[in-house]
């Protein structure tokens, strides 16, 4: 990765509307966090502000992504504002989506030009519920959701299509998991500590055949946060801004019968819209909640051996639901800011079987 950092560090002409990430933070992926979700957010936001050397009153706009269903607390997203700092009164917004979509709204908002700095938070406390009994509600409410057909079951169906169309093997799917676990060994925030070999993984029983339990991301409680700023303010705030050069998201039909579950057409369209292929991709963090999805996404993004995919271990080593997509952005930004990579892609997904996909293309350089 570091080899291309220099070549990517071009002195690109930045437009005043260009927006950069100037700070980031994430919590551990907790199997169960004992305290309130608000404190989880507070710890993350406090780390973010301390790291960026900025005060809460320097932030013009705050937006969060979370899901009230997970904690069974209607309007939990309102109390969550306490964790971001509700006083003095804050100009804020919320999406009932992963924090990566909150980043999308904040990025659009800053391009209006009247404010300079936004804070983006993604958080989830899913441990009180069985997430499978929540997320089937994202499906068509007439002909799918009442079946309780959850994302893990949809993933099982998609994985079988992938295998039977010879686009992947069970061994390749196990290799994704083994590689994720190896990478997670150096990620202090990861939830899973495992050295399982491909052979050991393949020996495990099926759950949602042809998937196995380890092919499904372990749900966690956690939060992620980042600060973004317009060009001039970004350069004041940090010597290592990470520029958002492309950000786009697309969704596919709610009618699974109209989709090709062995490909991700919306990722291909999003990649074109965000300019993924306009430069080398040193690092890609992909929102892989089911192991075979990494294979679909690598193909849709045309990634080859020169890209480090999920060097954090990815969601298969820890899935803080509703923050997981934003964590991908944090992981790529962290590597670019540290000079370990020059250019990278963060991917977030929502809905069953990669129904909706977001790509954020990031680049270093002043």
């Amino acid at each position: 990765m570091s080899g291309s950092a220099q070549s990517q560090s071009t002195q690109a002409q930045r437009h005043e509307n260009d927006i950069a990430i100037v700070g980031f933070a994430q919590t551990d992926a907790h199997v169960r966090y004992d305290g309130p979700e608000v404190v989880l957010i507070m710890e993350c936001v406090n780390a973010l502000l301390a790291g960026a050397g900025i005060e809460r009153h320097d932030i013009d706009f705050t937006i969060a992504g979370s899901c009230d269903y997970l904690s069974g607390m209607p309007f939990a997203f309102v109390s969550n504002v306490d964790g971001m700092g509700a006083w003095p009164p804050v100009y804020e917004s919320h999406v009932e989506m992963d924090g990566a979509w909150a980043l999308f709204e904040a990025w659009l908002r800053l391009q209006m030009g009247d404010i300079d700095v936004a804070m983006v938070v993604g958080s989830g406390k899913s441990s009180p519920c069985n997430a499978r009994e929540v997320f089937h509600l994202q499906a068509d409410p007439y002909v799918v959701a009442p079946l309780g057909l959850d994302p893990d079951a949809m993933a099982g169906i998609a994985a079988r299509s992938l295998i039977e169309s010879r686009k992947a093997t069970e061994t390749e799917i196990a290799e994704v998991v083994a590689r994720s676990y190896q990478a997670a060994a150096s990620n202090p925030h990861a939830q899973i500590r495992s050295t399982a070999s491909v052979e050991e993984l393949l020996a495990a029983p099926y759950d949602m055949a042809p998937l196995r339990a380890h092919d499904v991301s372990p749900k966690a409680d956690g939060a992620a946060a980042l600060l973004i700023a317009r060009r001039d303010r970004a350069r004041e705030l940090t010597d290592s801004p990470v520029w958002i050069t492309g950000l786009d998201h697309r969704i596919e039909s709610h009618h699974a019968g109209l989709r090709d579950l062995t490909d991700s057409q919306s990722t291909r369209t999003t990649a074109a819209g965000s300019g993924v292929a306009d430069g080398a991709v040193d690092v890609a963090e992909l929102h892989v909640t089911h192991a075979h999805e990494e294979i679909i996404l690598r193909n849709a993004l045309n990634l080859n051996g020169s890209t480090a995919v999920n060097p954090s271990g990815g969601p298969l080593a820890g899935d803080p639901v509703m923050a997981t997509g934003l964590v991908r952005v944090v992981e790529v930004a962290r590597r670019i800011a540290a000079g370990e990579a020059g250019r990278g892609v963060a991917h977030a997904s929502s809905g069953a079987a990669l129904q909706q996909n977001l790509l954020c293309v990031l680049e270093g350089g002043a």
Partner: protein
């Protein structure tokens, strides 16, 4: 003394949705013994759509055609441990099924008995449940080709215009640490607050953090406050007799600033002081239940004082506090 329990509840709501010109006939068909699709250009789409997925053009009921009752499995997964939302309590398959006459697949459940009975390309056929309500769950599939018996349909059955879906989530979690200490305090006859390390203000009940200063608080910040305080605000509630209402007589809800606290406890019921005698600034004393009668059913969501630990609040007889001094506490 009562034992503190982990939290376990189900939050659920019945969702009712109008079905419209295409889904309505589709669900009516499932109830009455047939599967309908829409013919859109050269394609037959099942489950049907109200629009052409390529152009968005409206597709009307004149485009409805019958498909099935059998078809082919194009992909599937085996559910070994069904969730509470699944159509079967025993292991089964979710499958994509391309019904005879359709060009797209439909997602549904196959009651195959065992995983060995499933394979891609196998034939499956619909079965109608004996109780049908006009939902996607009126049917399921089984291996084979044998046509279903025609279900009995009531002569006067109306078309399905509304479909109902009870959604719910079961929440199970321990009391959060600050709530557990607060609850244990109440059961022991003590009111525990937390003093913010940032500004020294005492929060009762505490939420486990100081929101104003963005500071988490832990057991080292716990302090005991008095069970006597001052009314800062109140309202008289005259119960409206809606469905499920159990209150019949007017009562008072008030906020009390306990001595030693900087935040008020809200939502305290007053049932034995008349509204004519009640006023901001009045001094009140909490009268505890006997320790054996105090309940421990505190959760992580409420912010009030558990009403299951006191009998009532009664005037202390002390002179009133000047209401002007309570302006910062009127919630």
């Amino acid at each position: 003394m009562a034992e503190l329990q982990d939290i376990d509840f189900t939050l659920e709501y019945p969702y009712t949705r109008t079905t419209g010109p295409i889904i309505g006939p589709f669900l009516t068909g499932l109830r009455d013994g047939q599967i309908l699709a829409t013919k859109v250009g050269d394609r037959v789409i099942c489950p049907p759509l109200e629009y052409d997925p390529d152009t968005g053009a409206t597709v009307g009921p004149e485009n409805l055609v019958k498909v099935g009752p059998a078809g082919e499995v194009t992909s599937w997964t085996w559910v070994t441990q069904p969730t509470s939302k699944h159509p079967f309590e025993h292991p089964f398959a979710f499958a994509q099924i391309k019904l005879d006459g359709a060009d797209t697949t439909m997602l549904h459940a196959v009651d195959a008995g065992s995983e060995d009975a499933m394979s891609t390309g196998m034939r499956v056929v619909v079965r109608f449940r004996s109780e049908r309500l006009g939902t996607i769950n009126d049917v399921y599939f089984v291996p084979g080709d044998e046509p279903p018996e025609a279900p009995e349909v009531a002569d006067e059955a109306e078309p399905v215009m509304i479909t109902e879906h009870l959604i719910g989530v079961r929440i199970r979690e321990p009391l959060q640490p600050h709530r557990r200490r607060f609850a244990e305090g109440l059961l022991a006859g003590k009111i525990i607050g937390q003093r913010s390390p940032a500004d020294g203000k005492v929060h009762v009940p505490s939420r486990g953090y100081d929101a104003t200063n963005r500071v988490p608080m832990t057991s080292e910040h716990d302090v005991e406050v008095a069970d006597v305080g001052t009314v800062t605000s109140f309202t008289e509630i005259v119960p409206v007799q809606y469905h499920g209402q159990t209150e019949t007589e007017p009562y008072i809800r008030c906020s009390v600033l306990l001595d030693g606290a900087d935040t008020t406890v809200g939502g305290i019921d007053i049932r034995d002081i008349s509204v004519e005698d009640f006023r901001v600034g009045m001094r009140l004393q909490m009268v505890w239940r006997d320790s054996g009668d105090r309940m421990g059913d505190l959760d992580n969501r409420g912010y009030g004082l558990n009403e299951e630990v006191y009998e009532r609040w009664e005037p202390t007889g002390e002179p009133d506090v000047d209401p002007e001094s309570l302006k910062e506490h009127n919630f």
